[in-house]
């Protein structure tokens, strides 16, 4: 599998470097996104960040619950003289 051709291509999404491999498969690398593509990616990133904040809060709550349960279990075992 070799790269047999490399060329530049510009579309509505931006400037691409396109590598054509010997097996017919092309690798298209978006080097310079267009303004509209950037705006779309930023919007997705914002939505993702908002989703991640909610997810992180949920994970933090679960971690806290598990740590507290662990502490309670350790204390109980210590009180019972088992550890």
């Amino acid at each position: 599998m070799k790269i047999i051709k490399t060329e530049n291509e510009t579309t509505e999404h931006g400037e691409f470097k396109v590598q054509t491999q010997s097996n017919g498969i092309k690798v298209r690398i978006l080097k310079k996104p267009s303004a509209s593509y950037k705006a779309k990616m930023e919007k997705r990133a914002e939505a993702e960040k908002a989703r991640q904040v909610i997810e992180d809060e949920r994970l933090a709550r679960e971690r806290l619950i598990k740590e507290r349960m662990r502490d309670i279990a350790i204390k109980q075992l210590e009180d019972e003289g088992k550890i």
Binding site: M1, H13, G14, Q19, Q21, N23, G24, I25, K26, V27, R28, I29, L30, K31, K32, P33, Y37, K38, M41, E42, R44, A45, E48, E55, R58, L59, E62, R63, K66
Partner: protein, 252 residues
């Protein structure tokens, strides 16, 4: 160069003899036959079963047909060459690879045929800038609508958690860019054939640096499209850094 036939009684002069030498010796060493020493193809052997050349020292081998099933043995380890790729039809072969030399925003692999290939094995080494942990998303056939879902299992330090999302807009196939680690490494297996939903298994190390690993994720993801042949896979996140490497392997 002309070849002058030398029969008994024929007087050959120096120019004709010189032409004969040059005809035989010109350019590539090609198999020749007949009174005019015309080039032949597929007629003569180099050596035989009994009389062999010792070693072959070449830069490349270009064969018009498959290598025959012959065991080649010697002082070093045996090498078995198989005709028609026998024994190799169930191996994964690398069909696409890219290593970035400059920053990029997306990498798209086109010219695929998910119905022929059936399974894709995608390996990603992701390098990101030190922004807070961005996900590396994969879009099948450029579908970025809410046609994906996932179930994950996450390990972070001593905490194990899991969750599900049923209306997602991509498949997470990597992640990096935590403030303490810029590297991520992942592998995904994609069941690519039409007829059912497409399923993706992913495991990833998300953000590592030095001796620190941020998170270990296992995803089961799904794309609800059952009829479109997979022809391209797009991988995207802002500011993908140089040395990011993506490999696509399949059963070919």
């Amino acid at each position: 160069m002309t070849f002058y036939n030398q029969n008994r009684g024929y007087t050959i002069d120096a120019d004709e003899l010189d032409s004969n030498w040059k005809h035989i010796g010109q350019g590539s060493r090609l198999p020749m036959a007949g009174t005019a020493m015309t080039t032949t193809s597929g007629v003569y052997n180099l050596g035989s079963d009994i009389y062999r050349w010792k070693d072959v020292h070449v830069q490349n081998i270009d064969m018009s047909t498959d290598l025959n099933a012959v065991a080649i043995t010697g002082d070093s380890a045996s090498v078995v060459a198989l005709s028609n790729n026998e024994g190799f039809e169930h191996c994964f072969n690398l069909i696409a690879e890219v290593t970035l030399t400059a920053t990029a925003s997306a990498i798209e692999i086109t010219g695929l045929n998910g119905d022929t290939d059936e399974i894709y094995w995608v390996m990603i080494k992701l390098i990101k800038a030190t922004s807070s942990g961005d996900w590396f998303s994969m879009y099948i056939n450029n579908d970025d609508a809410a046609n994906y879902g996932y179930q994950y299992l996450l390990g972070e330090n001593a905490t194990v958690t899991s969750a599900r999302k049923i209306t997602h807009t991509s498949i997470y196939v990597g992640g990096a860019g935590n403030s303490l680690g810029v590297c991520g490494f992942s592998e995904s297996f994609i069941y690519a054939k039409t007829g059912n939903e497409r399923l993706v298994l992913t495991r990833m190390l998300k953000s590592g640096g030095g001796t620190w690993v941020y998170q270990n994720w296992n995803f089961g993801s799904i794309w609800n499209n059952i009829s479109d042949t997979i022809t391209n896979l797009k991988f995207s996140v802002a500011d993908i850094q140089p040395n990011t490497n993506i490999q696509i392997w399949t059963k070919r």
